[in-house]
Amino acid sequence: MNRRLLPTTVVGSYPKPNWLRRLIREYEKGEISDKVMRRAYDDAVKAVVKEQELAGVDILWDGEMRRDEMTSYFARRIEGFTIYGEVRVWGNNYYPKPAIVDELRYKDELAVSDYKFLRKITDREIKVPITGPYTLVDWSFNEYYRTREEAVYALAEVINQELRRLVDEGANYIQIDDPAVPTHPEEIEVAKNSIEIVTRGVNAYIGMHMCYGDYSKIYPEILEFDVDQIDLEFANRGFKDVEIFKEYEFTKDLGFGCVDVHTRRIESVEEIKDNIRKAFSIVEPKRVYVDPDCGLKLLPSEVAFEKLRNMCQAARELREDLEG
């Protein structure tokens, strides 16, 4: 893809405005109509897109205003899933864990209308993030398929249909969120095959985002995945993992998480410039995409904005230096 040097982007989520959270609660209690809620989501997306534009993000997404969570949101829209209730992740944190109870089949679109709405309201480039089949299966119960592998491949076919529809609508950059892949290095072949199915016949630039687990256990194997870009968190790990990727020639574009989403501290422009330079020891600058480690949804929105703004400024200054 022909882009300018060091394009800046986001992983996907952005903090929901407080007024939207309140409306969602009221909506869940049945106090407001579908129509009002839909309008509220649209307004929230417009606001969040504007913030990303002001911060200077080149390739953006809608902040996932409409998505509550990255597993169940998709599971509810795919035939064959059901949700019995919440299951603990840690402490008092739970998520509605889906269960596969029937053959997985394409039912509703997953992101097509979100994409179409966003296309209407911004001229910037758009990236569509979607949770990968490996992660969706890993974070679900499997009651139907004989093996996990079969479930992953069946789901990969469903996601593939969605990606084709997205491309038909004009999407040209898709990000597969697959944080579960590095947590199961023993199943890396299954994950790789799933990506092959997901991307089959999809004529778009494909990124893959992973933010958990031990990267050393899946490198260099992930270079064989059928994607254009691999996007990883580095800031949260103090950039120690840069060493892992120096060991073999990195043959993909690199999405370089250079801002920590787990701390409210706002990194300075200088600090972020130093961070981004670390990516150049893995790949040449023209293969680097600049983004935060992960989605920003857990941060206060002022903090998210400041982080993005400094990140974009850092990329801009480096770009000028490099282009001389």
């Binding site: 019995y84 209730g85 919440e86 603990r88 402490g91 008092n92 119960f141 009651e143």
Partner: protein, 322 residues
């Protein structure tokens, strides 16, 4: 052949009733390690509810569901002086995370650990297993003080011994030591743990369970047979064939708690198959009692599925005793 009496039991955790989950979220927030500010009557109501769920399903030896435990480790570690809590890591191969306890000073028991919770459960039901851990707590902690595993495990064992004595004073008849980490241990760890159990049991008049899960027990056989415990808990979901063979090969003169239905999936087992498996185990063991249970705690399941799982377990073995 004399068959053992088959008694259904649970391993430890039970999903929090949804209303209690919301309650804890409110009083503790999302970040804290938990403990403070919880109203005892509210807690007791939740414990009564999960004990009733177990009883209605057919369970005969109960746990309190560990409803205040955020994970196996931090609930014990935050009550023991010398530990500090650290960042989150994955709990074995589960999509469940725990805070790493860090050992910063000599470990000491200056207050009750689970005694107060036990008291609540015991006022509702007498057949309650009190659950503790020793080796796993040491193995999954980050030791910045002792510098050798033996001293760390032994100090924890002393603390668990004090706790066990206190539990027995409050009426406890069954003490269960949960040790999933033992299944990943080295041979020298087993001799440390053998000594640790002697320490934990000293002067404690109760039936002792040593319970393992998440994989087969190949690494602890035959050494575990010399451990001074009354019941050994094995995971017959993850290691059915292997554990069966281990029992056949080495024989066993202790009672067994067989984890026979999968506590980590909502898929329900075929009752006939479960019954056949229990019978196969029962043919090899010769203790007075064969305990059967889910292989793990039930917190991996949504609330409504936990009792369904227990019903499968209990109904599968329902007619074996007759």
């Amino acid at each position: 052949m004399i068959m053992s009496r088959v008694i259904p039991t649970t391993v430890g955790s039970y999903p929090r009733p949804p209303w209690f989950r919301e309650y804890l979220r409110k009083v503790e927030g999302l970040q804290k390690e938990g403990g403070g500010g919880i109203d005892e009557a509210t807690y007791a109501k939740a414990v009564a509810e999960v004990i009733r769920e177990q009883r209605d399903a057919g369970v005969r030896v109960f746990t309190d569901g560990q409803l205040l435990w955020h994970d196996l480790l931090c609930h014990l570690a935050t009550k023991i002086d010398g530990f500090e809590m650290n960042g989150l890591v994955r709990y074995f191969d589960n999509n469940l995370y725990y805070r790493i306890p860090k050992v910063k000073a000599k470990l000491e028991r200056k207050r009750n650990i689970i005694v107060d919770e036990f008291r609540v459960a015991y006022s509702i039901e007498r057949e309650i297993k009190a659950v503790l851990s020793c080796f796993t707590l040491a193995a999954l902690s980050e030791d910045k003080f002792y510098g050798n595993k033996t001293d760390l495990v032994m100090d924890i064992a002393h603390i668990m011994n004090q706790e066990a004595k206190e539990l027995v004073k409050k009426g406890a008849k069954y003490i269960q030591i949960d040790e999933p980490s033992l299944l990943y241990a080295e041979k020298e760890d087993l001799s440390i743990m053998k000594d640790a159990i002697e320490v934990i049991r000293r002067g404690v008049d109760a039936k002792f369970f040593l319970v393992t899960y998440f994989r087969d027990a190949e690494r602890i056989f035959p050494e575990v047979l010399d451990f001074n415990v009354d019941v050994i808990g094995l995971d017959f979901v993850e290691g059915y064939e292997k554990n069966l063979n281990l029992l056949r090969e080495f024989g066993v003169d202790k009672e067994i708690q067989a984890g026979i239905v999968d506590g980590r999936t909502t898929k329900m087992e075929d009752k006939e198959q479960v019954r056949r498996r229990v019978e196969a185990i029962n043919e090899i063991v010769n203790g007075e009692t064969l305990y059967v249970s889910p292989n793990t705690g039930l917190e991996f399941l949504p609330y409504s599925k936990a009792s369904e799982k227990l019903k499968i377990l209990c109904r599968s073995v329902g007619d074996i005793n007759e």
